[in-house]
Amino acid sequence: MTKISGARALLESLEKHKVDTIFGILGGAILPVYDELYSHPQIRHILARHEQCAAHEAEGYAKASGRVGVCMATSGPGATNLVTGLADAYMDSIPLVALTGQVPTSGVNTSYMIGRDAFQEADIIGIVTAVTKYSYQPRSLAEIPEMVNNAFYLASTGRPGPVLIDLPKNIQTGVDDIEYTNKINLRGYNPITEPKPSKINQASELLAKAERPIILAGGGAISAGASDELVAMSDLLMAPVATTFMGKGVFPEGHPLSLGSIGMHGNPAANKLIDEADVLLAVGTRFSDRATASLSTFAPDAKKIHIEIDNAEINKNIEVDVPIVADAKKTLQALLVATKTKLARGDGIVWTKRVKEAKEQLSPLLKDNPCDVVPKHLLMALRELLPENGIVTTEVGQNQMWSALYFRALKPRTFISSGGLGTMGFGFPAAIGAKVACPERPVVDIAGDGSFIMSEQELACSVSENIPVVVIVLNNSVLGMVAQWQRALYNRRYMAVNLGKTPDMVKLAEAYGAQGIRVQSMEAFKNAVKQALKGNVTTVIDVPIGSETDVVPFVPPGCGLPQQRGDY
């Protein structure tokens, strides 16, 4: 055995896990790893311009590809800047491995060491405990290979999530005999993937007899890769499929039985029909408050089956009749077989007719002039211009909810957004990460001006690293979603929502070496998108829209899903 450094042991371990990209920013305490990176050209390092964005880029990479995203930062401020990204990944169950530098564990004749409040020291393990699935800090080099195995295994299995490895500088530079291993040592972690036959039996009995079945698919169904099974189940039961916001795309939204998303700003057909269903098959969802609205009125008539990999989600928000703790794909496969043999209900024509009628009644109203430059028209036009596998990311706020309402996602992993944490500034770096994972596919960030300026500096990253994406800025010069709340719930007392003189987005793009296009008509918008998709440089399309345009429909706080107000 040859003696190697901790930094080399780390990078060779990452290579064993087929890591091809690291998003990061360097600094003093992580320098030995960056120095080692020099000798590992097969790992592409993408220099973010803010660590938060490095984390979001890794999230976009992970969401688009299904692989583990890797981000890296130095100690202290570098590490703390990652925290929002880790919290975001934790909420949305995104597999991430974050690497941080740390001051040394010991030193001779120096106080540059852990526990002495050294320069750029932050207790990142203490800080991230609540927002990571797990975190590690090796105290010897020999621990590194197994620790990396554990980290990747934890991040990508069970309910996926972020794992942090904090690397004291002396561990990076130290030299020792390193033995690589495939061993994973996690005796307290045994995710259940196989469904219990008794539960499959109970669930299939309910489904086989259901008169008005509905399927609700969440982000867990995407993680499990259960799209085909959902389509098969929907076809078998003639059950309409609603998704949560995080599940968007797992069921093709062009399918006749697709209802779109439920929720506070959900599609009316979805919100209405979930209220009428007699059996609800929920797949990979945690029943978040934004999805269910008032808990007591959620799917009140439905017997509820809940397929979920995380046992702690069972009965956390919604009490269910048949909980199935297992992998969603495997469970749906077993349920399909079991239900097929039992199918006992009539032809289901009444429910099918009701679904069709609800979808027609509650489909988007196109009464406005189709030439009006409004979010609805822009997003529907974008769908026409993007191929089926084109990837859309969104920022957070009105842009996000309009995208959920009007942009039809046709494939899983093509709609990427910050659902749980609601992180403004997420969309653009996530788009960069998605483009790195899927360079052959177009990637578009649907942005608001407020969110975009929270991470616009990543234009430097996308231009320098040659990662061309398209940013569509729905520019209303206002923090639109909170302004809408102030309008609706605070008697129009606008406070701190007006963005005043926002930057000229065209000049901003050009300043970074990107392309900027401002459009004032639907025709110009379509041409700009076509031009941007053909181009090989990041393009910002600035679309001025009205500053008082609301996202409707809307379920007011405290109300149930069917009490949605406003026109679709």
Partner: protein, 170 residues
Amino acid sequence: MEAGKTKVISVLVENKPGVLHMIANLFRRRNFNIESITVGPSVEPDSSRMTITVKGDDKTLDQVVKQVAKQIDVLKVVELEYGGLVMRELSLIKVAVKDAKERSDIINFVEVFRGRIVDVSTDSLIVEITGTPDKIDAFLNVMKTFDILELARTGITALGRGTKSIRINE
């Protein structure tokens, strides 16, 4: 959280730094109420045993168990059934003593509660008492008639009755 009932859970965890922080942090962020928590080595050398007393309604207690079980360093969680467990807490109480009469009164109470005097000085006593939390509460109620100078309680530790034991691989 509603007042609800009290539950004692036994948790086997990896004997690693940071585990107590992780559990304490979990209770805080999930808005669970810890009544007491005790930690010490278990029969298996690389694991520790935590005994956590928690108060809440059924739904909350169900969540507590699930969320604790979900932690990577938690090897096993068992809810101990009231009635089916032996539960003990130890308390040390330092009491000021004015005169001989007070001293003999205190010693009498200590005998009745089967405590022990573990330290004596001219004007104070330290009493050790072990028992269920109820017994200790009752004793403290009596002692309140004197001048309690200091009080230390360990919190509950507990085991289920009978031969059945909580092991990692069972």
